[in-house]
Symmetry: C2
DNA sequence: TATATAATAAACCATTCGGTTGCAAATATA
DNA sequence: TATATTTGCAACCGAATGGTTTATTATATA
């Protein structure tokens, strides 16, 4: 089942995890120490983040270091840009309207 | 209960609604025509979007026109910027490392 | 005024979500 | 080799989510 990135960042714990590992790669156990929940709960969050390719794993013996996938913003930015275009065209229309009103004066 | 903007945009229907009304203000009934669900379901989505201040209402008789709140991206952008800062510092560190290696050669 | 229309609210329901506990697998270490 | 550690997986559970249908409120209109 393909997860959605917007759903992934909807959870505040997952956003906090992203901020945490943005500084440097961390193991699930190390991450779990920063939260008031079990290691297994963190593990589930990491699975979702991995499925959405927001983080990537680096195996080192029996430990797994999770680190931020730098292309994280791609899809979010894409979505925002879509808006910006629509807005810009709206503002242009507004500008032209204001200009027309000015001329009529 | 204060809603979270990330949770609001997590739902694909709500994102589609935002794109739809970005073009021009629309009534709930008009919006509902674009989706395969009841007007009441759309109404619930509009309530959530309103609570998060992603849209604003404009009363016109018994009709309510919903339009995009232009400041929509504020919180999302704030979050992204927070990341960019962390990334940039990471990349700087990487740059300095590469520079140090170069000098050693 | 009586009726139709636009919208929300309330009650309900199946599914998903985010947590838990318990267990299994793989790797490190005594 | 026996034991401890790191991790993920499965089963379970209560709460939230996203839809439905039914009822209510407010405004237009015949």
């Amino acid at each position: 089942m393909r997860r959605d990135i917007f759903q992934a960042i909807a959870d505040p714990t997952r956003r906090a995890i992203l901020v945490l590992i943005a500084l440097h790669a961390m193991t699930p156990s190390a991450i779990a120490e920063h939260f008031d929940m079990t290691r297994q709960a963190i593990s589930k969050h990491m699975k979702i983040l991995t499925e959405c390719e927001l983080v990537k794993q680096e195996y080192q013996g029996r430990e797994i270091y999770y680190q931020l996938e730098v292309d994280i913003m791609k899809e979010i930015v894409k979505w925002l840009v879509q808006y910006r275009k629509i807005w810009e065209s709206r503002f242009q229309q507004l500008d032209q309207l204001l200009l027309t009103i000015k001329k009529k004066k």
